[in-house]
Amino acid sequence: MAAVEPLDLARASRALADEPDPNAELARQFLYYMSLMREVEDRIERKLYRQGKIVGGVYSGRGQEAISVGAGLVAEADDVVFPCHRDMGLFFIRGVHPRQVFAQYMGRIGGLTRGKDGNMHMGDLRLKIVAIISSIGASVPVAAGAALALKYQGTRNVAFVFFGDGATSRGDWHEGVNLAAVQRLPLVLICNNNQYAYSTPLDKQMACANVADRGPAYGIPAEIVDGNDVFAVYEAARRATQHARAGLGPYLVECKTFRMSGHAAHDPGDYVPKHLWEEWAQKDPIRRLERGMVERGWASQADVDQTHARIRQEVDEAVQWAENSPYPDPSELLDNLYEPPSGAGGAR
């Protein structure tokens, strides 16, 4: 991961400054990872899934790319992240290659789980990415435990946990936030409030107006940001991270956004009023970032187009690689259920 300079909005607005603007470099990183996420997920959902090459379900983060990318670029390499199923950008930022993601979705051995699990249910401890379980929200108390360990080990690192609005209805979400608050654990809570949990709209999910309203009940700070503005997400995640790193305990960031797809590839999302699709399409986080970059002189339209062309080529090659990755051999069925006996009982 590249180190990123602090954001300076005054400087950012000086569009014609001669010296390289750190925000311009940050914006280029945002654009790359957000566009890569969009391209990979589009390829999976709109091409490979329809071709029958994806063996299971597909859940995309279309329209929400600013959240995992904005917050993901705040996390340091030794911080630990707990993505949810709409946070593919996090994987790329931390060094997972798109070809591993395609192979994961296709059930090939080149995927992060070697075919043991599918879609976004993947992780890699070496990259400090913890795999979700499907009952989203269950990761929150686990992330609290990871934060506990980071504190226990005397590090300055923090845990980042990502979840949607629906997850905050679950008991273990509340148990995890409460435990982290009581123990003042270094935990950054990032909510993508995309207004729907499968088909259930927010007003059937909770009686309070905002997920952030829940923070004060646990004695922790919470703020609301425009989840489609990657700079705003980045800044909020930075504030949250500074708070957590300083030993002040958890911090909740609610990113208001919209799920620009059904719940999954099999779901056309017919229950979503049409005007919402249209309104939120105008707020597309990638188009918005591109416009800002061009307006500020951080990139030309040609630069932007070149970025997309480069990504498409990367993705073409990644798909090819994944399709050439074999399926796991049935003999691997029993592997890795337990530690092999040779290592049992020993110190790590």
């Binding site: 686990v142 435990g145 506990l148 980071l150 409460n178 259920l337």
Partner: protein, 323 residues
């Protein structure tokens, strides 16, 4: 001086905390109070709040926090104040902890331990034996010691194990069972049953508090001229098939005895393994003796009727040997 079962567990955890700074304990009322059954008594004073963590009243968070810390390389020992309450943490145990290594290669070196079992008139929510739920979950290890020696040796093995271990302590044994323990460090391997008493006429396969019911019955049977072999499973997942089958091949008659309720209990699984792999050695049907298929009742006459006891074992054993 003999060491009680509860003290053996306390010593085992304590010694592992002395040996390995990554070991810590987490649970409800375990610090200042020393735990509802005093398993963690004195640990706060010795190891401090960093390693003896009192939590909010939230079992799912306790197990989840242990998983998260385990993923980061620590070795948490999480206490369920009563094993009954592990149902609140079911998702974390069966979906998170049990599946991490298999799904994405991440070890979860945690122990979730707590008191289980009836006989103390504690009613439906403080008396259960929930082991069968977890024996049905690949990726977990399930341990249930019956002796002080095994309790200490197995809790040490559980803490050193790189997979999630559920450790069920029968609360009726905590202060009733005691024996002299070795002064030196020792472990008892997970996955190995013990032949607790050798015999030739029938086998009783059991674990936990029912070991002592089996022993009481075996003494009476001995006076009647029948020689009983008793297998103490010690670990319920993975099961030690070889020790069970070797005994069945020797005695040809077998009783499967557990305090957990009958239907879906581990006895059914063991019966299936015996009939699949030692059918031709059997001289009689495989017999299960277990608690009744009801919640654990509170009132003494009802709880007595619910639980297995030596009289019930004797009746079945005599029938089996006449068969």
């Amino acid at each position: 001086m003999p060491t009680t079962y509860v003290e053996a567990i306390r010593q085992g955890i304590w010694e592992e905390m002395e040996r390995d700074p990554s070991v810590f304990v987490i649970g409800e009322d375990i610090g200042v109070y020393g735990g509802a059954f005093k398993v963690t008594a004195g640990m706060l004073e010795r190891f401090g709040e960093r390693r003896v963590i009192d939590t909010p009243l939230a079992e799912s968070a306790i197990v989840a926090a242990a998983i998260g810390a385990g993923l980061m390389g620590l070795r948490p020992v999480a206490e369920m104040q009563f094993s009954d309450f592990i149902s609140c943490a079911f998702d974390q145990v069966v979906n998170f902890a049990a599946k991490c290594r298999y799904r994405w290669g991440a070890p979860v070196p945690i122990v979730v331990r707590g008191p289980c079992g009836g006989g103390g008139h504690s009613g439906p929510f403080h008396s259960q034996n929930p082991e069968a739920w977890f024996v049905h979950t690949p990726g977990l290890k399930v341990v249930a010691p019956a002796t002080a020696y095994d309790a200490k040796g197995l809790i040490k093995s559980a803490i050193r194990d790189n997979d999630p271990v559920l450790f069920f302590e029968h609360k009726g044994l905590y202060r009733r069972i005691k024996e002299d323990l070795p002064a030196e460090d020792y472990t008892v391997p997970i996955g190995k049953a013990s032949v607790y008493r050798a015999g030739t006429d029938l086998t009783i396969v059991t674990y936990g508090a029912m070991l002592y019911v089996a022993l009481e019955a075996a003494e009476t049977l001995h006076q009647e001229g029948l020689s009983t072999e008793i297998i103490d499973l010690r670990t319920l997942l993975p099961l030690d098939d070889e020790t069970i089958l070797a005994s069945v091949r020797k005695t040809s008659r077998v009783i499967l005895l557990h305090e957990d309720t009958l239907t879906g209990g581990i006895g059914g699984e063991i019966a299936a393994r015996i009939t699949e792999r030692a059918f031709e050695h059997l001289d009689a049907p495989v017999v299960r003796i277990a608690s009744a298929d009801t919640p654990v009742p509170y009132s003494p006459p009802l709880e007595e009727a619910f639980l297995p006891n030596a009289a019930k074992v004797l009746e079945k054993a005599r029938w089996l040997c006449r068969y």
